[in-house]
């Protein structure tokens, strides 16, 4: 995955480039708007991190120009400006996500991966997911833990799919109910969610994954930390 980082602060750019490389992104650095625009238009990129306060050509202008030629390129705006107007301006210019400095790298990485997942709409890329020792293959509707096949009812499948897509984030009961009704899984009430969570939890035993109950809100899928 190749990524262009357009950031004028050399110290931040240096550290970020290194961190992104560690995280598995092939990272190029553009120190100003002109270089960023040139590189973005000349080469093919999977992702772009764009600072708004770039010298020579400012980030918003770069974004607008690039959008016309490459509407599909996922762009995450990384900026010191976090007021509402700047956010609206950034998103209007075609940013896919907006993160303010200073940031936590894990959050940046998570957002980049989410952008990638959204952009790589080809079913192949999205088809299989792995977390812990669980492998989840969407097109063949097959799941396995450590290679051992996992039997899931349609509702359990939908539930686990949702939890996996939103890993480390809260999935509310309403969202589960909605997913079920849109997939036309077997009908069932809201209270049965607990029952299904219980079942999926048992099926996930030994996978290194755990479904945490969040009081009053819903559920969250997390990888168990090695004890």
């Amino acid at each position: 995955m190749n990524l262009l980082l357009a950031e004028d602060d050399a110290i931040l750019a240096d550290a970020l480039t290194e961190q992104l490389r560690h995280a598995g992104f092939e990272t190029e650095h553009a120190p100003n708007g002109a270089v960023a625009e040139f590189l973005l238009l000349k080469q093919s990129w999977d992702l772009c991190i764009l600072d708004l306060g770039l010298p020579m050509v400012d980030g918003l202008t770069v974004l607008q120009r690039v959008r016309q030629r490459k509407p599909e390129l996922p762009v995450l705006v990384l900026t010191a400006l976090d007021d509402l107007q700047s956010r609206v301006a950034g998103l209007n210019a075609g940013a896919d996500d907006y993160l303010t400095k200073p940031f936590d790298f894990p959050e940046l990485e998570a957002r980049l991966r989410a952008l990638l997942r959204r952009s790589q709409s080809s079913p192949v890329a999205n088809a299989s997911m792995a977390m812990g020792s669980l492998v989840f293959e969407r097109d063949s509707r097959r799941a396995s833990i450590d290679g051992a096949p996992l039997e899931l009812s349609p509702r359990e499948w939908t539930l686990l799919d949702l939890l996996l897509t939103r890993r480390d984030r809260v999935v509310t009961k309403e969202e589960v109910a909605q997913a079920w009704s849109s997939e036309r899984a077997e009908p069932g009430g809201n209270n049965s969610i607990e029952v299904y969570i219980h079942r999926v939890r048992r099926k996930l035993e030994g996978s290194g994954l755990s479904i945490r109950t969040v009081r009053g809100l819903g559920y969250l899928l997390e990888a168990l930390r090695p004890a």
């Binding site: 970020l16 961190q19 200073p102 809100l217």
Partner: protein, 479 residues
């Protein structure tokens, strides 16, 4: 125990000590000269009245004296007085008033009378038939005396006789007093009426001033909008204009200061992000174990500075002048709490904290307030952030939204160590922290308070038994 002075007492004290009230000054200048004039008029009236009373009494005394003189008839060498008739005439005049008479032949030979009366002081030979009037004292009583020198006998044995009649001055004084009373009473009434009219006039005339004062007094200290000057009378307009100029200048300087804080904070963000990323990276590499703790500290410091900068910006945004003021909308606190809490769950889990929502369920009615969605969100985020920072690992943090009378209430409770009650007030101050544990900067609750107050709401802290803290934001419900 000291009780605060009542407003009335304060006002009285101020009036006695003399404040620079325009009302008072005008009233003083309008009424005081009137009072002086009134006193002068009373004095003059009294004197005029006394003179007329004297004149009337003198006339009656003279009449009586002449009558008495006529009754004195010389018989040979002596004098005969038809006394009873004369005395009747004189004394029968007024039973209340003491009347004295004396007939003598000067110098000082008493012939008859009821009393020895002082003789008139003469500046030359006595004039016959000319009345003398003067004041004297008999038995320590002030009297008015009429005296008449009469000659009797033929031209050879011509002798002088002094006829005096005196009367107590009580009657005269009473007369003068009644004349004075009859004049002064209506005059006083007039003065009183005048004062009231003047007072009403002053009040009506100065009403715009009072309105302007109320306009300035009722203002929040940070409200620097110009005063409305259309309604003010001519004289006040220039004052209002001057005040508006001053307000505008203050507003500009405050705004400039805020812009500076805002710009400075923004400028700090990028280098801080760089510092943070560099230390993060360095910590991930294999470093000399001896240096590791140092590096860790640098990193923590960078994280903390980053937090401080973010909080400073939040505080600047919570100020009424910020551009967000225009974006007021209806906010469902229940929905907001659900969203924000869900967002914060991963962070809470990282800190080993069980963050949850105490929700009445989907069926419960929404709790809607009118306000700035981003600011209210910011307030709730600050409370959750605080709870996560200070409650300590394996605590429970619970967000709850409910309706309480006319308020929408958001509560964040934790099972942490809490804050000692004597610090409950101080922690709302900027940069005041209840503890030096944790990585906060002491702005969280100041931001929350600023946001709550801007929405006409309140923030309060409550301790929870056996340990823990509940922070409550109450905002007025939307109509």
């Amino acid at each position: 125990m000291k009780t605060p002075p009542s407003p009335l007492m304060l006002r009285l004290t101020r009036m006695v000590v003399g404040d620079q009230s325009l009302h008072k000054q005008l009233l003083l200048w309008l009424v005081l000269p009137q009072l002086v004039l009134w006193m002068a008029a009373a004095f003059v009236t009294y004197n005029v009245a006394a003179r007329y009373a004297n004149r009337a009494i003198d006339a009656s005394l003279l009449q009586a004296t002449r009558a008495l003189a006529r009754q004195v008839k010389p018989i040979g060498n002596g004098l005969f007085i038809d006394f009873p008739r004369a005395a009747d005439d004189i004394i029968g005049g007024d039973p209340d008033d003491r009347v004295y008479y004396m007939v003598s032949t000067p110098p000082g030979q008493f012939i008859l009378g009821s009393r020895t009366l002082p003789p008139p002081t003469l500046t030359g030979p006595p004039k016959l038939g000319e009345p003398y009037f003067y004041d004297g004292v008999v038995d320590k009583m002030p009297i008015r005396v009429a005296a008449l020198y009469v000659a009797y006998g033929d031209s050879k044995t011509r002798q002088l006789m002094l006829v005096q009649i005196a009367r107590g001055r009580a009657r005269r004084d009473e007369l003068a007093r009644s004349i004075l009373g009859d004049t002064v009473l209506p005059l006083s009434g007039l003065i009183l009426l005048m004062t009231m009219i003047v007072w009403a006039g002053i009040r009506a005339g100065l009403a715009p001033l009072a309105r302007m004062r109320a306009l300035v007094e009722d203002r929040a200290p940070n409200d620097l909008a110009p005063l409305k000057i259309d309604a003010a009378p001519q004289e006040l307009r220039s004052l209002a204009r001057a005040l508006n100029d001053l307000l505008a200048a203050v507003h500009e300087s405050v705004a400039a200061q805020r812009r500076f804080v805002n710009d400075a904070a923004h400028q700090l963000r990028t280098p801080l992000a760089g510092l943070k990323s560099q230390t993060e990276l360095a910590l991930g590499e294999n470093v000399d174990p001896a240096r590791q703790p140092r590096l860790q500290r640098v990193h923590e410091s960078a994280v903390r500075s980053a937090h401080l900068v973010n909080q400073l910006l939040s505080l600047a945004r919570a100020e009424p002048e910020s551009a967000l003021a225009q974006h007021s909308a209806r906010v469902d606190l229940r929905e907001l709490a659900r969203e924000v809490t869900a967002e914060w769950v991963p962070k809470a889990l990282q800190s080993g904290i069980d963050l949850g929502l105490d929700d009445a369920g989907e069926a419960a009615p929404p709790v809607v307030v009118q306000g700035h969605p981003l600011l209210i969100r910011e307030a709730l985020q600050n409370l959750i952030d605080n709870a996560i920072r200070y409650a300590g690992a394996s605590s429970e943090v619970t967000v709850c939204v409910r309706r309480d009378g006319n308020s929408g209430v958001m509560e964040v409770s934790d099972t942490g160590p809490g804050i000692p009650p004597d610090l409950h007030r101080a922690v709302f101050e900027r940069f005041v922290r209840a503890t030096h544990e944790g990585s906060g900067c002491g702005l969280g609750l100041a931001i929350v308070k600023s946001i709550a107050e801007r929405h006409g709401g309140q923030v309060s802290l409550t301790g929870i038994a056996p340990h823990g803290l509940r922070v409550t934001i109450a905002l007025p419900l939307a109509r």
